[in-house]
């Protein structure tokens, strides 16, 4: 074990972690806002809305993320003349843009499926009550269904966040310098294979369990009204002598 090389490489690795976190956050936010309308469309009884979403979700959940990344990064080259004509080639030439686009589309597909489950789990009585109060359409979704659905989907969503965070490591394959990418470059230069990779692995481990801890805390805060009120036996005796 060579400790010096670990200490020396930590700043570079942390910089890589910065890109990893950045990719995760941007894809998460974009994926979240894409997934809400997609989840609602997925449940529409009109196949014009539900069928395309079904196909999209099936494709992105049924193929490896690596294929999706290659499809966009290398595959866009096949349409280069067209992309140049419409002025999009500037974007597709960049590995960063391709990686981000793929991650967004991928996580949006998984999140759509999670939100669909959440929406379906909303008790029917609550929807009926809202309708009886005269709510319908957009108001019903905004006030009643979506807040409840998102809360019900939170445990599954926290898993998706962790999976997304970990799958960003694949962007190192298309030359991006995320945590895994930086680790690979350092290893190629120094041959200190396990020192560097294990340090990088520990960084991933810490952030993963950090994310899980944050979600557990949020879940706990959001479910306050469902828990039994903590009663101190001594206090209870004082109140009812």
């Amino acid at each position: 074990m060579d400790w010096q090389i670990i200490v020396d490489s930590i700043p570079a690795l942390l910089e890589g972690m910065g890109l990893t976190v950045q990719l995760t956050l941007i894809s998460l936010v974009a994926g979240f806002f894409l997934a809400i309308p997609l989840g609602v469309m997925r449940l529409s009884s009109n196949p014009i809305f539900s069928a395309p979403v079904l196909g999209y979700v099936f494709f992105f959940r049924g193929t490896p993320l690596l294929v999706q990344i290659f499809l966009i990064y290398y595959g866009s080259g096949q349409f280069r003349p067209f992309l140049q004509e419409v002025g999009l080639w500037e974007f597709f030439r960049e590995a960063y843009f391709c990686a981000l686009l793929t991650l967004i589309l991928n996580t949006a597909a998984y999140t759509t499926e999670i939100f669909r489950g959440g929406i379906q789990a909303v008790p029917h009585g609550e929807v009926e009550a809202a309708r009886a109060c005269g709510m319908s359409g957009f108001t019903l979704y905004r006030r009643i269904i979506l807040p409840k659905a998102l809360r019900l989907a939170l445990p599954a969503y926290s898993n998706e966040v962790v999976f997304l965070f970990q799958s960003t490591s694949l962007v190192s394959i298309i030359t991006l310098m995320d945590l895994t990418g930086v680790a690979r470059v350092i290893v190629a230069r120094t041959f200190d294979v396990y020192e560097i990779y294990i340090t990088a692995g520990l960084m991933y481990l810490v952030v993963t369990y950090g994310i899980l801890w944050v979600f557990r805390t949020v879940e706990f805060k959001l479910s306050g009204h469902l828990r039994d009120r903590a009663v101190d036996p001594a206090e209870a005796l004082k109140l009812h002598p």
């Binding site: 193929t63 690596l66 499809l71 799958s167 490591s169 394959i173 294990i198 692995g201 991933y204 481990l205």
Partner: protein, 229 residues
């Protein structure tokens, strides 16, 4: 539908290797999962700690990084250890074996949770009744718990399989010529990246679709004779 200019056979070859790696890794993952579940449920402190560390670490680190650690790290570790003891060892992993070992090891952690949940789902009375009939712990496990556990484990194992088969694409990074690697090589020859990777994607999608049907069939078979509410 796809004009692959005569390179289609490369993708089919890659597909067969992908499936082979997938099946072998699943078998290994199930063995690791059973051992892990035993460790997590056992009263032995050391076994418990080992199994918990195993699942905690594996699930907290990306598969790609674990693959790199195992593929590049293990030979170096063994060589360095041997060197310190005064031996000269040259070790190179075969990517096929390394891929199976890594994927089996990683998804063994997920299978551990599946099997643990399945064992806990069996009503407690079953094991107690077996013990009361005079069966030893081992015999009760083999005759009573194990056969009933599968029914609860099947949905989870199906999920592990579907994630695992997609993760085989990562093994292309260490040079195993499975579906992704073959598509990449063919891309160098025919310059049709989108067509090639889309064909590869369709093959993965076909595996997923067949697996979903297979899972439904196997679950129905496993649940025969179970009354449903």
């Amino acid at each position: 539908m796809f004009d692959l200019k005569g390179y289609g056979w490369m993708l089919w070859e890659g597909l067969s290797i992908t499936l082979m790696v997938g099946f072998c890794s699943l078998l290994l993952a199930m063995v690791m999962g059973l051992i892990g579940a035993w460790g997590k449920l056992s009263r032995n402190k050391a076994a418990n700690l080992t199994a918990t560390t195993y699942t905690t670490v594996i699930r907290g680190v990306p598969e790609l990084l674990l693959l790199l650690i195992i593929f590049y790290g293990t030979p170096t570790l063994i060589q360095n250890t041997a060197e310190q003891m005064g031996f000269e060892v040259r070790l190179d992993f075969n990517p096929f074996i390394a891929g199976i070992l890594t994927l089996g090891f990683i998804y063994g952690a997920f299978a551990t949770e599946v099997f643990r949940g399945a064992f806990l789902a069996i009503p407690k009375g079953q094991g107690e009744a077996a013990r009361a009939m005079g069966m030893s712990r081992m015999l009760a496990f083999r005759r009573i718990l194990m056969p009933q556990m599968w029914r609860f484990a099947l949905p989870g194992l199906g999920n592990v399989w579907m994630v695992l088969i997609k993760a085989t694409a990562l093994v292309s990074v260490i040079g195993l010529e499975e579906l992704m690697r073959k598509s990449y090589i063919a891309m160098g020859a025919i310059k049709l990246p989108f067509t090639l990777f889309f064909a590869a994607a369709m093959m993965y999608l076909a595996i997923t679709a067949v697996s979903m049907l297979g899972q439904r069939y196997v679950e129905r078979w496993a649940n025969r004779g179970i009354r449903r509410a």
